[in-house]
Symmetry: C2
Subunit: 417 residues, 2 copies
C-alpha cells in the first residue's frame, strides 16, 4: 500500500469512529482546544512561519503571495476567533427532514450526515489550514489537507496543533491528515482514491482547480471565477442603478462577486451612461465600452475587445455594453458570463421575473448589488466558498453543504410485496 | 469545432431556450406527443429493432442481453405508459424554498431549476432511451444520449420520434441529441466538455461506470453495486427477522437492493440459523457461511471465502456471518458493504438508533426489508436510479434530483456596506 493510500485509509477509519462517537459537545470541545493551543503555541507558530516567509522571499515569490503566507499575532488571533465562530454555529448533522408515513405503514425520512473524508487542496495560505479543518470537524467529516509547499513549516505546525487538540479530547488524530510529501505525485495519487476519499475541494486560482478536475476520480466542488453582470433595464430607477453599480464595482473589486460587466438598455443609455460612467471614473475605474457606449459617452472610455466580455478583472476595470433590451441582456449573460451572480435593476415586475427565470446563474438578483452574494450575507454563517458547480451546492456554501443525507426507514417487519 | 463539441453546443443552446419558454403544460405536451408517435410508428420501430436483434444474434450476443435489446408491442406500450406516468408527476422546477428576510431588509431564497445538459451513457436497452429523455425533458433539462451500439437502429428511430415530438410543439429538436458515432472516441471527447455538459449519468454495469469516471471531467452520478446487509440483533423478533430475511433475499434476487449478506448476533444465532437457513435453502438459496455459522448449522452450507463479503451476487446466493454484537456488525457493514442499503432487526430502540447513526449507507432501515429501497416505495414517483454517490443525490433518485437550485435575491436597491 502506498503512503498516500495508507494515510487516506487511516483518515477514513478515524472518520467512521468519529461518526460513531462525536456529538455536538465533543465537536465544539475540539474547536475550543484548537483555539487554546493556538494561543499557547503562538511563538512557536510564528517562528515556523518565519522560516517559510524567509524562504519565499529568498526565492523571489511575488510580494502579494508572501503577504498571504505571512502570519502575525493578529492573524493568529483571527484563527482563534474563527474557532469560536464555527463552534457557535448550529451542528448541521443529525437533522431529520421530510419524514413521511408511506401507505404500507412504515416511515421514511432523510437524515443529514457528514460527507465522509474531504480532501482540501489549497495554496500557500496557512489560515486555510485552520479554517478548512474546523469546518470539516464541526460538520463531522475527516479531512486530508494539502497546502502550498511554500507554507510547509507553518502548516506542519498548525496540523500538529489540531492533532494534539483531537488527542486531548480522546479522538483519533488521524481524523485530520496532512499530505507532507512535497512533490505533486502524492496529490495525483490522492486524486485517484475514490474508494477512500469522498470529496475534493480545491481552494485557489483557476489553474489549481483545472488541474484537480483533470486528474480527479473523486467528485470535485469547484469555485471558478465570477464574471458578474448588472443589467440596467429601461424601467430602472436610475438613482438606484447608479448606487448599485458603484457598489458592485468599487466596494471591493478584487473578489469574485464584484461586477465585471455593465449592461444598459439602449432606451436609458443616453441618460444613464453620462451619469454613471464619470462617477465610476472618479473612483478610479477604467471603462472599456462597446461602440454604442463610446458614441454616447466617449471621455476616457477605451474600446472593449471581444475578450473583455469573458474576463474576470478582479480590479478597477469595467466593461460596458449597450443592449437592445432584456432578450439581448440575458443572451449576453448566459453566453459570456460564468453563471456566478447577475443582477437586474428594474421597476417592472414582469421583466424582473423573466430575468430570474432565464438567467442561468447561481445567484440572480433584482435591485441589489452582486456583492451581496455571500454566505454570511445570505445567513449561512461561515462560508466554505462560492460554488460555481451546479450539483450538490450552488452559490454560497455554508456548513450544511459539507453534509449529505441518508434515508432512514422505520418499519415493523415491512417487506416488499 | 469537432462534431461532438458542436452537438453539445447545440444542445446547450436549445436547453437555454427551453428554460426560457417551457412551462409545465408545454413539457407535458411533449411527453404526450412522444407517446402518440410511439403508437403511430410502432410498426416501423419494431422493424428497426428487428435489424438490431438479428445482428446481435448473428454476433453471438448473450441471450439475456438480446432479450433486453428486443422490443415488442407490449414493451412499446410500456414506453407509452411511462410517458403518461412522468407527465402526471409534479414539475420539480420553479419551486422556491427557504425564502427569508435578511436583517438589511432584502429577501433571499432558493429556486429549483434544471441542471442543464445531461449526458446519459447506457447499454443496449432501447427503453432507457425513452425513459431518460422524458425524465430529463420533464425536469427541464437538455439531454445527450449515447446508447449501446447493439441498439443503434432502434435508438436512432426512437430519437427521431422524440425530436419530431419536440418540433411538433415548437421546441428546438436539438434539446435531445443522439451521439450517433459508433466508436468510443466520440464518448471520450464528450466526457471532456465540462463547459457545455453539466452532468453525466452512466446507466449500466460497473465496468461502464468505472470507465466513465476515469475519463470524465464532467461530474458523474454513479449507481454502483449494492452489497446489502440484514443484521439480526440479539433483541430481534425472530419471526419478523425470518420474514424480512426471506423477502430481502428471494423476492427479487437480481436487483441491487436485494440482501447479499446476513449478519446474526451470536446470542440468537443458535436459535435463528437452524430456523432461517433451511427456509432459505427451500427457496433455492445457496448458503455460504462463516465457521461459526457452519458449526451451528452445517447442512448444505459452503464455507464463505473472504471475497464473499464484498460480492454482489445478484442471484440466489447468501453469505452468512455470526458476529459478537452490534459493534462487529457495524464494522463489517462499513468495511465490506457498498454503502447502499442495510437493515437491522431489533426491538431495542437504543440499538436501533445506534445502528442508524453508525452505519454509513445511503439507506439505513430498522425492522424492514432492504428491498424497500426504491424511489417508488419511498414516494418519489419515477426513479432515475439508486445513487451510491454521497454528493447531490444519495440513494433512490427522483425527478427532483435532476434539478439544482439557484439563489434569488429580491432587494430595493440594497448594496453591501
Amino acid at each position: 500500500m502506498s503512503g498516500t493510500r495508507e494515510l487516506a485509509q487511516r483518515t477514513l477509519e478515524a472518520f467512521r469512529r468519529y461518526l460513531e462517537t462525536a456529538d455536538t459537545q465533543v465537536k465544539n470541545g475540539i474547536l475550543d482546544a484548537v483555539s487554546v493551543l493556538l494561543g499557547e503555541r503562538m511563538a512557536g507558530l510564528l517562528e515556523e512561519n518565519r522560516k517559510d516567509v524567509l524562504a519565499a522571499e529568498g526565492s523571489g515569490l511575488n510580494p502579494a503571495l508572501v503577504d498571504r503566507l505571512s502570519l502575525n499575532e493578529k492573524r493568529v488571533q483571527g484563527m482563534m476567533q474563527a474557532c469560536a465562530e464555527v463552534a457557535a454555529l448550529p451542528d448541521p448533522s443529525g437533522k431529520i427532514t421530510d419524514m413521511t408515513v408511506r401507505p404500507q405503514g412504515f416511515r421514511v425520512g432523510r437524515m443529514r450526515v457528514p460527507i465522509g473524508v474531504i480532501a482540501i487542496i489549497y495554496e500557500a495560505r496557512p489560515n486555510v489550514t485552520i479554517e478548512s479543518a474546523i469546518l470539516c470537524l464541526k460538520s463531522g467529516n475527516g479531512v486530508i489537507l494539502r497546502g502550498g509547499t511554500a507554507a510547509f513549516h507553518s502548516n506542519l505546525f498548525l496540523v500538529r496543533i489540531i492533532r494534539d487538540a483531537l488527542q486531548s479530547k480522546g479522538i483519533d488524530p488521524c481524523l485530520v491528515s496532512f499530505l507532507e510529501s512535497r512533490d505533486r505525485q502524492a496529490v495525483d495519487e490522492l486524486l485517484l482514491l475514490d474508494d477512500l476519499v469522498h470529496l475534493v475541494i480545491p481552494r485557489g486560482g483557476e489553474g489549481l482547480i483545472r488541474n484537480v478536475v483533470e486528474k480527479s476520480r473523486i467528485p470535485v466542488l469547484k469555485h471558478y471565477k465570477g464574471v458578474c453582470h448588472v443589467y440596467v433595464d429601461r424601467q430602472a430607477d436610475l438613482d438606484m442603478a447608479t448606487r448599485v453599480v458603484l457598489n458592485a464595482k468599487t466596494q471591493r473589486p478584487a473578489v469574485c462577486n464584484a461586477m465585471e460587466t455593465l449592461l444598459v438598455d439602449a432606451r436609458v443609455a443616453v441618460d444613464f451612461l453620462p451619469r454613471v460612467l464619470p462617477a465610476l471614473q472618479e473612483r478610479g475605474v477604467e471603462i472599456r465600452g462597446c461602440e454604442e457606449t463610446r458614441r454616447l459617452y466617449a471621455e476616457g472610455v477605451k474600446p472593449a475587445a471581444e475578450t473583455d466580455w469573458t474576463e474576470e478583472y478582479l480590479d478597477l476595470i469595467l466593461s460596458v455594453r449597450v443592449v437592445s433590451g432584456i432578450d439581448e441582456a440575458v443572451r449576453h449573460i448566459n453566453t459570456y458570463g460564468s453563471s456566478h451572480t447577475d443582477a437586474i435593476i428594474t421597476r417592472d415586475i414582469r421583466t424582473a421575473q423573466s430575468f430570474i427565470k432565464r438567467v442561468d446563474s447561481a445567484s440572480v438578483m433584482v435591485n441589489a448589488s452582486t456583492r451581496l452574494a455571500d454566505g454570511g450575507v445570505y445567513g449561512l454563517g461561515a462560508e466554505i466558498g462560492i460554488s460555481t458547480d451546479r450539483l450538490h451546492a450552488r452559490g454560497p456554501m455554508g456548513l450544511e453543504d459539507l453534509t449529505t443525507y441518508k434515508w432512514i426507514v422505520l418499519g415493523d417487519g415491512h417487506i416488499r410485496e
